[in-house]
Subunit: 240 residues, 2 copies
Amino acid sequence: MLLALDETRFRVNIARSFVLYNERMSNRTTPKGARTRADILHTAVDIASVEGLDGLSIGRLASELGMSKSGLFAHFGSKESLQLAAIEEARLRYVKEVIEPALSSPLGITQLYALCTAFLSYIERSVFVGGCFFASAMAEFDAKGPSLVRDRIVECQEQWMMTLERAAEGARANGEFRVDSDSRQLAFELEGALLTANWYFHLFHDATNIDRARRAVRTRLSREATQVGLDLLPLEPQDS
Amino acid sequence: MLLALDETRFRVNIARSFVLYNERMSNRTTPKGARTRADILHTAVDIASVEGLDGLSIGRLASELGMSKSGLFAHFGSKESLQLAAIEEARLRYVKEVIEPALSSPLGITQLYALCTAFLSYIERSVFVGGCFFASAMAEFDAKGPSLVRDRIVECQEQWMMTLERAAEGARANGEFRVDSDSRQLAFELEGALLTANWYFHLFHDATNIDRARRAVRTRLSREATQVGLDLLPLEPQDS
């Protein structure tokens, strides 16, 4: 029954963006069961951020939590349901830590800059133990065959790109970017700096890579901006 | 005995760069054994490029090749040795497909551009079934604890960054880049475009992302270049 409700929840979410759908759904389980489920998923996403979603077996999670496999099956029913629930939990954490702080800035260059710096802050603060959950999930599933898990990862990544793109479109509409600005190209290039910061920060254990990405973002936005946009760009990185 | 020789081979390679060490080592096994080993590794790197290096168990590989586990153990001795051998095989393929074609261009802006376009061509041609082997390996091991496998991945990634950086330094020394050009920053930003092309090409099944990266590389190099450099930059992407 719980599983059936959760499956519906995922179907509904698929059509919604990070921005439109950024609140936790009302809880349909008992208070005690809900806390347990939340605790389980908190641990699950951190395991997945280090070892990958395919490393997130019910057996592995049961061992980490000191729970029985049958107890976890009662919550999730299958490895795939557990993986989908972990993605949803990660998405809510991402919205809270990256999207929501940036949405307090007005649509346009300041919001785009805020999205990028919020992402870099989220990496630096190790919101997920193993770095960006979605970067890891994308790298793990990019070349794999079709599955519900892969579909959901694709949607999340596309929603993030659309969030960047919408802010860039806003900047163009406001006259903060040049009229010939290509919002998707800009989002692609910004994402390149952000992703590389994520990988290299962890791979080389070197925070210089976060600074490199901040510098890349700032320079790239400056290059796209009109004088109106340049005047709105903060003089110093927000998170340094 | 075979294992011992291979371990020595890895130790020697660690101190060498992609550029200095780009030839296959002479074969120390029998011709028949060597062919078998090469076939095994060819399959192993393609499995790892899709399913990750940790998905490359001796059992998984035995099943794929229709070989016995004991036969594979005779070749590699352990999962870790198999993983290290797969990395070495992948490195040689990378050198052949990306580094060597670009080294025919003189050190400087043309070589840097050639390295980037050779990488994008290598992604587009699916030299590894699952996309760039090293991008996948980096994403898989970036947040994991220390191991010989992780160490080797870090070294390979750093060698690639140094290859880009050296070409950029050459461009500055030749007067093709501005005197205040930051070679490591430039390499970081170029790598961002290349990595994102790799992920998005596979994740979204969309070759537009390769074109976006070509455009990003070209614009970024143009921005770093003096008039001397601009005159050397090919008018059209080499691989489009």
